[in-house]
């Protein structure tokens, strides 16, 4: 499995899809609730901060270009401390797999299929996630290329079709929200869209053939993903208005309901749910891949495949019980979830950088001798 390699443009697409992920559904309303019509500014600031975080990741990862994050932790912190810290990352990745299942299932429950049991929807989604992870990273990357094309077409047509509905009055007055609130929400955004990308260190740089290019892809991918979310947030606010955006649970879905071009192109929101499912799918696949591969490396198992099915079943089970209600989920995301993401995604890598700085010489010698 170790000689699996994907190229940097495939990685770029994976990063974009990962960044867009669930954010495209939940970010607009979560941010509009805090900062009203300034939510889109929040995303811009958040994306900026996020890029710094990504830059931190690429720097850390390139110290040992052949190691995954789990192996890197062991290398830098030593065997046992490293394993414990890696476990945190794996737990995060696995928890978020389950939470993404919950997201997609609940989204469908709320908007399309209220009577279908959540567990059925989640099993189906998990089925293709397990299938993807079993087929390996190369297959995932290649399907991402094709599905990204679908995603792009749907997204661009959505933007073009909804653009006539923009009412500039809705985003005025600009900068009304307090600076403190804007910063607070943009940190929330960083936690959701950028700091979770720490799990991508399980892919980057170990499984990428041109690491130098891939470093750029990581940063550009995050930027493009950020731009997508900026556009969606801007559209939500300017078309729906800040109050409505904040009120809706999935504001961008409500946005597509507004599409009406000449009474002819209308009622296409169910098609746009395909868009969300694709992006959520790839985010979940990457989380799941990271957690499965992480566990395999933690336990020194050569092939991660046998782990996929049992872990997949556990993820489905977890996704049913992870949040007792949607209000709990929204609250958790904004409080505990954010702190947890920031801890794993920012504090740990920083800690790693510090330790690396201290132990630099002995580490270099180690890798030189081995």
């Amino acid at each position: 499995m170790q000689n699996v390699k994907i190229n940097s443009s495939q990685f770029l697409i994976l990063v974009i899809l990962f960044t867009v992920g669930t954010s495209i559904l939940t970010i607009p309303s979560a941010l509009a609730a805090d900062t009203d019509q300034d939510a889109w500014i929040t995303v811009i600031i958040g994306t900026g901060i996020g890029l710094l975080v990504i830059w931190l990741y690429t720097t850390i990862a390139l110290w040992f270009p052949s190691l995954t994050y789990v192996q890197l932790n062991e290398k830098v912190f030593g065997k046992w401390v490293g394993k414990v810290l890696s476990l945190l990352v794996i737990i995060m990745a696995f928890l978020y797999t389950a939470s993404l299942l919950y997201y997609s299932g609940t989204f469908l429950n709320i908007h399309v299929m209220p009577n279908t049991p959540l567990v059925a929807l989640n099993i189906l989604m998990m089925g293709i996630i397990v299938m993807g992870v079993r087929l390996g990273l190369e297959t995932i990357a290649r399907s991402a290329e094709i599905l990204f094309f679908v995603f792009l077409i749907l997204f661009l047509s959505l933007v073009v079709l909804i653009a006539p509905g923009i009412q500039i009055e809705n985003i005025q007055p600009v900068f009304e929200a307090e600076a403190k609130k804007i910063i607070k929400s943009s940190i929330f955004y960083v936690a959701v869209a950028s700091s979770n990308a720490v799990v991508l260190l399980m892919v980057f740089p170990a499984f990428i053939n041109k690491v130098k290019h891939a470093k750029k892809s990581f940063i550009i991918g995050n930027l493009i993903g950020g731009i997508v979310i900026i556009i969606v947030t801007f559209l939500c606010i300017s078309v729906l208005g800040p109050e409505k955006t904040a009120r809706e649970i999935y504001a961008s879905y409500e946005l597509t309901k507004r599409i009406n071009v000449g009474d002819f192109i209308q009622r296409i929101e169910a098609v746009s749910s395909t868009l969300w499912i694709i992006s959520v799918y790839f985010k979940a696949v990457l989380y799941f891949y990271a957690s499965v591969l992480g566990i395999a490396q933690l336990l020194n198992i050569k092939d991660y495949r046998p782990l996929t099915l049992p872990l997949g079943m556990i993820a489905v089970f977890l996704s049913i019980i992870i949040y007792p209600s949607i209000s709990y989920q929204v609250n958790w995301d904004e409080t505990t979830g954010t702190y947890f993401s920031l801890f794993v995604g920012v504090v740990l890598p920083l800690l790693l950088a510090v330790v690396y700085g201290v132990r630099k010489k002995s580490l270099k010698k180690d890798s030189g001798s081995s």
């Binding site: 290329e145 098609v271 499912i277």
Partner: protein, 539 residues
């Protein structure tokens, strides 16, 4: 796949020696010195079949040497047998120079081979295995008393279908020649198009009982060595009693036997084979069938017709896009209809909702069952149409059109909209230029209908993601099946979903071949330059 491989490699060890091993025949297999003994063994093992002719003659000075000529009646060219073999041996030899050589105690076999036989292809023979293969494929065998050796003279000739227009892949513009059942004619058809010394043909005989000739053709230096080696390896691993059609080979060497998608291309058209060879692919010709296999085969290749390259690039591009559109209709139309009418009624425009609802009043089945019924009826009609004699075919279509189109709707069993959807699907599925991919789509359509009936659009989306995952996991002889879409390759896009003008395509497709990639030497000169041409003065 793993399962098949294992079996094959195990089987290889115990299999009968391949013809190439004829130099060291074991004791039982070797020809005897005594002619009578040889003939007896032959007669016993062939069960005195009436189409095998044994002819004993005497040759040499004074007719002292006994010789046997054995051939299969009907497969051997009798005039050439008489003119070039019997006549040389029995008449010409008497009293000429050869006589001396023959009597000089030299190796008679070699003398005959070198001086006497006025035929083109001749081979030594020491074992019965080779003898049987040659004899039963129409060669003439000469055995000489006193030698544990013989000669195989190739003078096969039998009645066969000539080169006719292929029925499967027809074109409006393009050559009308199609392959026939004879492998020699087929290699000749390819060779006529590529007169390059680097066009190499490797022959193999596969099938314990059928002894079918297989030829691998490729352009040396253009085709990827790894692919050629892989094809050779896979062909060598085949151990089976009979190969009757190239489909046998296809099933035994393809990468993913469980996939509904073909990873090997087949065609009846020599021009497609020639084009594929030029792109660096390998062709596998099988005796007895006009269908030639081409590997590696990519997904997009199944949507490209040879005619795309013979007509204008813009039109060809449009038609290619149309084919992909048709593919999505053929795959998704019934399932989308089911999903929208039973799950997402909100997607229908109000007026359409009203009219569809009005049509459905009184229809006894759920939309899914209705669609299944109609699709199955259509598949039945189609299959019946293929197998029926042509004359009954038209009667079939009348019954079909009447039953499906009119009566079912009039009787209120099926709603009219469903008939429209199913017919649209049917038309779209006929657009595909290759039969194989159309069949795969036919199968998957039912899977998508089931997914749509239970989970609506979400089911279709999940199915679609699974389908893409599956397609992306496939490889054809090492090449990712979905390339050049995934992994994406910009320069190959010139001839994928659309086709750019020929003067824009300088290189052969990547991934398939690695070396000798240049198609046109000088890109700058490639584009036709209208200003440089002589123009006739208009007067």
């Amino acid at each position: 796949m793993r399962f098949f491989r294992k079996k094959n490699s195990d089987g290889l060890k115990s299999s009968t020696p391949l013809p190439s091993q004829k130099q060291n025949p074991d004791q039982k297999n070797a020809l005897k010195t005594d002619l009578q003994a040889n003939i007896k063994i032959l007669k016993d093992s062939l069960g005195e079949s009436s189409d095998i002719i044994f002819r004993e003659i005497r040759i040499g000075k004074e007719g002292t040497i006994k010789a046997g000529i054995i051939f299969t009646d009907g497969l051997t060219d009798t005039p050439s047998l008489q003119n070039f073999i019997l006549e040389t041996l029995m008449i010409d030899n008497k009293g000429n120079e050869l006589q001396k050589k023959m009597s000089a105690g030299k190796d008679l076999i070699n003398v005959l081979k070198d001086y006497a036989m006025t035929v083109g292809e001749i081979e030594d023979l020491t074992s019965f295995d080779v003898l049987y293969t040659g004899l039963l494929s129409g060669d003439t065998i000469i055995l000489i008393d006193g030698y544990a050796q013989g000669l195989i003279i190739s003078n096969k000739q039998w009645a066969e279908r000539g080169v006719t227009e292929p029925s499967a892949q027809t074109v409006v513009r393009g050559p009308r020649e199609g392959f026939s059942e004879n492998i020699r004619i087929n290699t000749a058809l390819v060779r006529r198009r590529l007169k390059d010394p680097n066009l190499w043909t490797e022959s193999k005989v596969i099938g314990r009982k059928t002894k079918t000739s297989i030829a691998m053709m490729y352009l040396n230096g253009v085709a990827n060595d790894k692919v050629v080696e892989e094809v050779r390896l896979r062909l060598d691993q085949i151990d089976i009693d009979g190969i009757l059609e190239s489909g046998y080979i296809e099933e035994l060497i393809e990468d993913s036997p469980y996939s509904p998608f073909p990873t090997i291309y087949n065609t009846e058209r020599p021009d497609i084979v020639a084009a594929a060879l030029l792109e660096g692919r390998v062709a596998i010709l099988v005796d007895g069938t006009p269908f030639v296999l081409i590997v590696p085969a990519l997904f997009v290749q199944f949507f490209q017709a040879s005619e795309d390259y013979y007509q204008r690039a813009d039109i060809a591009s449009f038609i290619r896009l149309l084919r992909f559109f048709a593919l999505s209709i053929a795959l998704f139309a019934p399932s989308l209809f089911i999903a929208i009418t039973t799950f997402h009624q909100a997607m229908l425009p109000p007026a359409l909702l009203m009219s569809l609802t009005a049509q459905r009043e009184g229809v006894p089945f759920p939309a899914f069952v209705e669609a299944m019924l109609m699709e199955l009826t259509f598949e039945l009609l189609r299959e019946a149409g293929v197998r029926m004699p042509r004359s009954i075919g038209s009667a079939m279509s009348i019954v079909g059109a009447f039953v499906v189109g009119t009566a079912a709707v009039e009787a209120g069993i099926i709603s009219a909209a469903m008939v429209i959807v199913v017919s649209l699907t049917a038309i779209a599925s006929f657009v595909s230029p290759t039969y194989d991919i159309a069949i795969a789509v036919r199968l998957l359509r039912f899977a998508f209908m089931i997914a749509a009936a239970s989970f609506g659009l979400f089911g279709i989306t999940v199915g679609f993601i699974a389908l893409i995952l599956h397609l992306c996991s496939l490889r054809s002889f090492g090449v990712p099946y979905m390339s050049p879409l995934a992994p994406f390759n910009m320069s190959n896009q010139k001839d994928t979903l659309i086709r750019l003008p020929r003067w824009k395509m300088f290189t052969r497709p990547r991934l398939i071949n690695q070396k000798d990639v240049v198609r046109q030497q000088s890109p700058a000169d490639a584009k036709p330059d209208p200003t440089n041409r002589n123009e006739l003065e208009g007067d």
